[in-house]
């Protein structure tokens, strides 16, 4: 009953300042969105990065050092190097489908199963068949079993769509086909842009050294190196976001503190009256802290939604992949919102609790 009455008086009071409280909640929301976005990107992308590279089963990437392409013979040369378990080539080109430019990835389809991509439909079983990235399904709406014309310069080639793939990367917006078909689409022949190499971990250093000696015109990078390049980009983004987050959180806390200070000032007479009626410090504090909590919870909830959305947009833009928000992200958002509003509201509320009723009621 007492709680019900508290809620009644609290809501009546909070409703009086809904405009101001809404502004404070928006400030908290902004700060929480930035914090959530930052945590979401740094945790989500790192997880994705590791999984992405592991999915290939490759631990070394070989690409032309000075641009251009390799001849397909390079694959057999690499396979012959001691310590190399397997090697698989990929070729990239661009083609137009129904007036839209899309990336075409040619690869060895027999390696597909090892790559851990999700397949909807069936793998291309013969020449002239292809897979489409899942994003194209919603964009271009091609249907399985249908023939699609791919145009590359003056070349035109009909390909049958056998299914869709999903990987959570740029491949989701590309067409995937055998190397032979990709060459036929672009008019190229027997060229490779990158070779994914699986080196036995026990002979790793020696095999990488051998690869560099055997292929002097190639760039040989361990997956760890590739990952660390992306990590370095991630670190820079993280640093920038930390800075932005600190500024936004600071600005937001000032906004909440000034809102609470204004609320306390506006309610001075009420506070004096409540004290004269026998309210203890904690009774007064309860009303104001409840207001802070409401601002923090609302800001935390909506900040979480906006933060996750922002993280997805940034992640897609910077890394070409969506992230799966960590399960603890909503808890972090809510806690950030509550902590921010409580800490910012602390000093104004403390002043309210300490105020002298005799002075206030005299109107001084």
């Amino acid at each position: 009953m007492k709680k019900k009455r508290f809620l009644h008086f609290f809501l009546r009071s909070a409703a009086q300042r809904k405009g101001r409280n809404l502004m404070a909640a928006l400030s908290v929301m902004l700060a929480v969105a930035v914090v959530t976005g930052m945590v979401g990107i740094t945790s989500g992308v790192r997880e994705k990065l590791g999984a992405e590279l592991r999915a290939y089963g490759a631990n070394v990437l070989v690409s032309p050092a000075k641009g251009g392409s390799f001849s397909k013979e390079i694959i057999s040369r690499i396979r012959n190097i001691r310590g190399v378990d397997d090697a698989s080539g990929q070729y990239f080109t661009v083609a137009s489908i129904r007036g839209h430019e899309v990336e075409v990835i040619g690869l060895e389809l027999d390696k597909f199963r090892k790559m851990g991509w999700k397949l909807f439909g069936r793998l291309p079983g013969r020449e002239g068949e292809m897979l489409a990235g899942i994003n194209l399904k919603t964009g271009l709406k091609p249907a399985e079993g249908n023939a699609e014309e791919l145009i590359h310069g003056d070349l035109r080639r009909e390909m049958i769509l056998s299914g869709f793939i999903e990987r959570g990367g740029p491949e989701d917006s590309a067409l995937i086909m055998s190397l032979g078909d990709a060459w036929a689409v672009s008019g190229a022949s027997d060229v490779i842009d990158v070779v994914l190499v699986r080196v036995s971990p026990s002979a790793f250093e020696e095999a990488v050294r051998q690869l560099r000696v055997t292929l002097p015109d190639a760039s040989v990078k361990s997956v760890r190196q590739v990952a660390s390049a992306e990590e370095s980009l991630l670190s820079k983004i993280r640093l920038l976001m930390l800075l932005v987050t600190a500024i936004v959180v600071f600005a937001s806390s000032i906004s909440v503190a000034s809102t609470m200070a204004a609320n306390v000032f506006e309610r001075r007479e009420e506070i004096g009256l409540m004290k004269a009626l026998g309210a203890k410090r904690r009774d007064i504090g309860a009303f104001f802290f409840a207001e802070s909590l409401l601002i923090g919870a609302a800001g935390g909830f909506f900040g979480c939604l906006f933060g996750v959305a922002a993280a997805e947009v940034i992640s897609m833009g910077a890394f070409g992949t969506f992230i799966r928000p960590a399960f603890y992200l909503p808890a972090i958002s809510l806690l950030t919102g509550l902590l921010l509003s409580l800490v910012s509201g602390y000093f104004p509320v403390r002043d309210a609790m300490r105020s002298d009723p005799a002075v206030i009621l005299r109107g001084e």
Binding site: M1, K2, R5, F6, F9, R12, S13, A15, Q16, E269, E270, G272, L273, M274, K275, A276, L277, G278, A279, K280, R281, D283, D356, P357, A358, L361, R362, G363
Partner: protein, 223 residues
């Protein structure tokens, strides 16, 4: 039997002596008015009796309990248990209805009961104005809500600081008749501050203050 007792009470505000060595005893069931010019210390004396302020020196007892050095929260408990305040500006919360304003005092005391709050308003003749907000009521009605709020927790002492200061003669009379009824029929102890001679004559005892001192205590002056 004394209900309020002050012994050598002084109050200083930054080198200003608001009260100088006040000795005072108010008996249970007494109605005492305090009069005097502005700055004579009337309101300070009332605030100290009501535990809204504490003396710089001296001792204040309410119902034999020394309250002069009570911690703030204990003072809050004393106020809600023993004292009902009636202010000049009524100090009603503008966004609450009459009945909610009364219930707020109950809330801090124990349990807010709407029916009891409505009964208290009926007692002061406002049974028909329960759901009205202060802005929808006249000054006299607002002051009666303030009295209902002061009565709701059955205090022993009613402290009124210029309760009719903002009212016309007709409403002043209404409020004083109400206080008189509460005093004579229900035995409330009343201490009232006023500068209005018309109001002052309603008390059974008049204390005149000047420059922080008691210039004249009518019951003593008559001797």
């Amino acid at each position: 039997m004394s209900l309020i007792e002050l012994r050598n009470v002084s109050k200083e505000y930054r080198n200003t002596h608001a009260l100088r060595g006040i000795d005072l005893v108010v008996s249970r069931g007494e109605w005492m008015n305090i009069v005097g010019p502005s700055g004579s210390g009337k309101s300070t004396l009332l605030n100290i009796i009501g535990g809204l302020d504490s003396p710089t020196s001296g001792e204040v007892s309410i119902d034999s309990v020394d309250i002069s050095r009570l911690p703030e929260d204990d003072m809050a408990v004393l106020r809600r248990e023993k004292i009902g305040f009636i202010f000049q500006q009524s100090h009603l919360i503008p966004y609450l209805t009459a009945v909610e304003n009364v219930m707020l005092a109950q809330y801090f005391h124990s349990m807010a009961e709407e029916k009891e709050a409505a009964d208290a308003l009926s007692r002061v003749g406002l049974g028909h104005r329960l759901e009205h907000r202060p802005s929808q009521m006249s000054g006299g009605e607002q002051q009666r809500v303030c009295i209902a709020r002061a009565l709701i927790n059955n205090p022993e002492i009613l402290l009124a600081d210029e309760p009719t200061g903002n009212l016309d003669r007709e409403n002043t009379r209404l409020i004083l008749e109400l206080l008189d009824k509460l005093h004579s029929e229900e035995g409330f102890t009343i201490v009232l501050v006023t500068h209005d001679p018309f109001v002052a004559q309603w008390g059974r005892r008049v204390l005149t203050m000047e420059d922080g001192r008691i210039k004249c205590d009518e019951s003593i002056c008559r001797l």
